[in-house]
Assembly symmetry: C2
Homo-oligomer: 341 residues x 2
DNA sequence: TGGTGTGTTGAAATCGATTACATCAAAGCG
DNA sequence: CGCTTTGATGTAATCGATTTCAACACACCA
């Protein structure tokens, strides 16, 4: 429990003023070489470390950014967090994380208490009044909300849905099911809309089940699907977790994927490739997205609002074809009818 | 871009001194009811929010804890993070995350720059000199290191390994394989040692492959296992990811789990239950662990070092039997021998 | 009536850095 | 040689809160 070393201690040991120590550390070229050496030596022997509260107060900034996400334990986010932290850490920024589903008042405070000087927002369901009330640099990532007055970095969800539908239609599936996310979620909305539109364009029949992106929702959807008189043979899930839950429940129901039904997921999480069978899915480059969002925030912090209208093109989707999709087999599709006849 | 409201603004509007405003906010019972009301009113109309840099500086604390983990994108951690954040957020603490594999100098700074007043450490491979040099409340979680002078909250890995071995032995498996984690990792070490000890106690043959907890390592181990003349019929993997990778690769090799080989994982991640077949594994209560670690840190922050020697009993393991383990089938086990004869 | 305690309040010091401004020496220049 | 410029350094103000200490009013009690 050594007493904390302050800048005055370094200054007195080096025989200079605190101003000089401060300068030697943050703008070495402005002090004489001899002085600089003395100061550095004193810093070393005292083991001085800056007190950031003091510096932050004086400089009116926190050297910290905040990541706000609706569910920290969602595995979809972890790689994004890692990328943001890496990118931000490289330029000396601390990274805070917080669940965005805390009380409204706490949420308001986050933008005002001066503990963060930028926010990466992964939640599109916060009251716009709260979000626009923060006057901090802000970027929306993945989820977004038209009412937020901030640049965003989003994935091209409609194009992704089209890719999925085209893939299934190309394989000959004429009846498709989409297991969607929660109704009030933009990602779910745009994927659902994209699905319906693409299905119409390909003239295939389209049905939608509501879900919430989770494994459990996928399993539930599988049970509903199994109870259908006419089972769609192509299923497009709004998340990989959901798709995996669907397939897993199919296994319990004695339905084989992809023989009896083709399933395609969304995200390309790590497990997608190691599931049995490996999941056909739409890849979202999560690491790249996190990295880019971090860079946007950093640019805004430095350029002071420079990137305000910098909402660029959406991130392009990529279809990853693996083992859960197969050409529609007319025989299999009609097996029940055959059994009846 | 409204000018930031300061405490003096509130004070002058309310017609009192800043001291009174400060007291009205942090110790309301010490100011008169009439004054309190005036102040609260002024706070409301001005929209005053405290500047935490100023408060932190004066109070010499940061109201923030830091989570340090060796790999932020590891899905095993996400639920732990969420639990810590929830618990810490409830008592007004901010949560920072950082990868622990940043440079040594940056690591040293973390304990000294005053931005965090407590650390939850999930990495046992940091130089003890660095860790013990921080004079901040610290708790070790999950991973640990004997040289760190700090309380820890750990999982009972030897007992867990015993549980796994006993389960396989009870099912009649006489030859076991353990796919371990990296050599320098305490978790891997203790699981490996527990495995060998338990196998000896049950008089079953035991082999160990090195790995690193990842899906890829599991797949690699499956290939090695498949090349063995005498394949162990019971496999205990040091992580669920590893087990899933093993099973997934088995599928590609035409080997069936659990018919040809029983596999047991470690962690009970969310996917374990939705994998096909569902993974038999050892459960680590990650949420509970995070929550408890957060409470330890909070207690240390309040009680100032009270919980110094509070390293309690290790968390008890729980075996979750699902679909990847089956009784050893002598016929299957000897099928190759039979084919030769 | 005077002394003591109690409850409220304000003035000013304080936390530990950064930085605007002043100072001073040395150098450059006609 | 005197005057300006430049570079290095120190002094002191500043960031915005908290907190110590003193002051004061009032009640209570002997």
């Amino acid at each position: 429990m050594a007493e904390r070393v302050r800048i005055v201690d370094v200054a007195s040991l080096a025989g200079v003023s605190t101003a000089t120590v401060s300068r030697a550390l943050s703008a070495p070229e402005t002090v004489g070489p001899a002085t600089r050496k003395k100061v550095m030596e004193a810093v070393r022997t005292t083991g001085y470390r800056i007190n950031s509260a003091a510096r932050d107060l004086r400089q009116r900034r926190a050297r910290s950014i905040l990541i706000l996400a609706p569910n920290l334990s969602n595995t979809f986010f972890s790689r994004i967090f890692a990328a943001i932290q890496e990118e931000a850490g490289a330029v000396g920024l601390t990274v805070q994380i917080s669940d965005s589903r805390i009380g409204r008042d706490k949420l308001v405070s986050l933008g005002y208490d001066g503990r963060a000087d930028g926010i990466v927002l992964l939640d599109g369901n916060i009251d716009p009044e709260v979000v626009n009330g923060w006057n901090l640099p802000l970027v929306q990532l993945s989820e977004w909300n038209e009412s937020y007055d901030a640049p965003r970095l989003v994935f091209d969800n409609p194009a992704a849905a089209r890719l999925a539908v085209d893939h299934l239609a190309d394989l000959g599936h004429r009846a498709l099911l989409h297991v969607s996310g929660p109704a009030e979620n933009v990602l779910a909305e745009t994927r659902r809309a994209g699905f319906l539109e693409a299905a119409a364009a390909r003239a295939v029949s389209a049905e939608v089940f509501d879900g919430d992106f989770t494994l459990a929702a996928g399993a539930e959807a599988a049970r509903r699907w199994a109870g259908l008189a006419e089972r769609p043979t192509g299923v497009f899930c709004a998340s990989d977790e959901c798709a995996l839950g669907f397939i897993s429940e199919c296994g319990r129901l004695g339905v084989s994927v992809p023989r009896d039904v083709s399933v395609i997921g969304f995200d390309d999480i790590d497990f997608a490739d190691h599931f049995l069978p490996a999941l056909t899915t739409i890849r979202q480059p999560r690491e790249e997205m996190g990295r880019q969002a971090a860079r946007m925030i950093v640019a805004m912090l430095e350029g002071q609002g420079a990137a305000a209208g910098a909402t660029g093109a959406p991130i392009a989707p990529e279809l990853v074809v693996r083992g859960t999709t197969l050409p529609a087999c007319p025989a299999a599709a009609r097996s029940e009818a055959a059994a009846e006849g």
